[in-house]
Structure formats: structure tokens, C-alpha cells
């Protein structure tokens, strides 16, 4: 009789914060402001 035991350790998921950037809007129109001194 052959008996084997397999033991495996699984790392299912590693929690890690992911940094990113999101750019909204195209360069459609160069305008004054909104940082606009009066």
C-alpha cells in the first residue's frame, strides 16, 4: 500500500494597496482660470 501525503500551502491573495492616477477631460480649450485672479 502506498500512502502519500501532499501538503500545500496556498497564498490565495495578498492584500496590497494599489496607487493610481485618473485623468479626467481632454485638452480642448485653454482658458483663463479657474485659478483666475480678479
Amino acid at each position: 500500500m502506498k500512502v502519500a501525503v501532499i501538503s500545500a500551502l496556498l497564498l490565495v491573495a495578498v492584500g496590497a494597496a494599489q496607487a493610481g492616477t485618473a485623468i479626467v477631460g481632454a485638452k480642448e480649450s485653454p482658458q483663463k482660470g479657474p485659478w483666475c485672479g480678479t
Partner: protein
């Protein structure tokens, strides 16, 4: 900003505007920047009404903010405290200041016609503003939520 434009959920740590040309020493006194989630998809003339019942969070303040740009470049502000953006509602970026040195930072905008996406006024404490069909080009730096839950598993198998 619309949730469909932002396409993320997480903690916002920095907000940038995109200068379109050089500006030297544009000064703004008692400057404040706030972020606020809102259910509205376009703004009205009422600043408070635009919050849609939510409370804006102050992410930046400076007694005398000076902005200098050399051309087409991002310029922005690290958040004093990360802003938790849920990813499903729209987001209002609001800034105000009490005085300035009459210097402007030219910036890139995008057209939002026919939707009103901008509300502005030249008086600090005004409750109503003038509407515009444009929006500033923005870059948001954020930290997304960690993968959850982290799990560790063990498999034991017996073969005969």
C-alpha cells in the same frame, strides 16, 4: 467630475489641474480646496444645493497660495487628509479664496455642453454662482482599497 469619468474608487491623496501656459506668482489668500460627493449630474446656481445633502471635505488650505507654472504642466495639491471616494457618485471639486494678486493660471478645460458643470462667482461668501458648460481638466492621485480578504489555505491530500 462624473463617476463614469473618474472610473475608480479609493482614497484621493492629491488633486491636480493642467496649466495650459506659463504663470508666474499667481497668489491666492486664504485658499481652500474641498471635495464632495454629489448625486447631481450637473450643477445648479446654488453652491450648497450642489452638494446634494453631502458634506464637503476640506483637503487643502493655505493662507497665501502661490502658483507658478512654466507651460503645459500639471500643478496640484496633496490632500491634508485622504478623501474617501466611493466611485458611484459624482464628485465636486471646489476652491475658494478671499483675495488675490490679480494673476491668472491659464488652464486646460473641456466642453460639457449642454450640461452645466461649472459654477463660479467673484464674491467669497456668495450663495449663488454663474453657470458654465465646461469643466477643468483634472488628475486625481489615489490609493485603491486593498484586496480583501487575504487568506492562507492548506490542502492536504491522501493518496492510496
Amino acid at each position: 467630475m462624473l463617476a463614469g469619468e473618474l472610473k475608480f474608487a479609493g482614497d484621493v491623496t492629491r488633486v491636480d489641474w493642467n496649466a495650459s501656459a506659463a504663470a508666474t506668482g499667481a497668489g491666492f489668500g486664504d485658499a481652500e480646496i474641498t471635495l464632495c460627493e454629489t448625486p447631481l449630474s450637473e450643477v445648479t446656481t446654488s453652491f450648497v444645493g450642489n452638494y446634494g445633502g453631502n458634506t464637503p471635505a476640506l483637503i487643502y488650505s493655505n493662507s497665501w497660495l502661490v502658483i507658478t507654472t512654466t507651460g503645459d504642466q500639471w500643478f496640484g495639491f496633496d490632500c491634508a487628509k485622504p478623501f474617501a471616494y466611493g466611485g458611484s457618485k459624482n464628485l465636486i471639486v471646489e476652491m475658494r479664496w478671499r483675495r488675490d494678486n490679480e494673476t491668472t493660471v491659464p488652464s486646460w478645460h473641456f466642453d460639457t455642453k449642454p450640461a452645466f458643470r461649472n459654477c463660479a462667482v467673484g464674491t467669497y461668501a456668495a450663495e449663488q454662482g454663474k453657470l458654465g458648460t465646461w469643466c477643468s481638466r483634472h488628475r486625481f492621485t489615489y490609493t485603491a482599497a486593498a484586496v480583501s480578504p487575504t487568506s492562507l489555505g492548506r490542502i492536504r491530500a491522501l493518496f492510496r
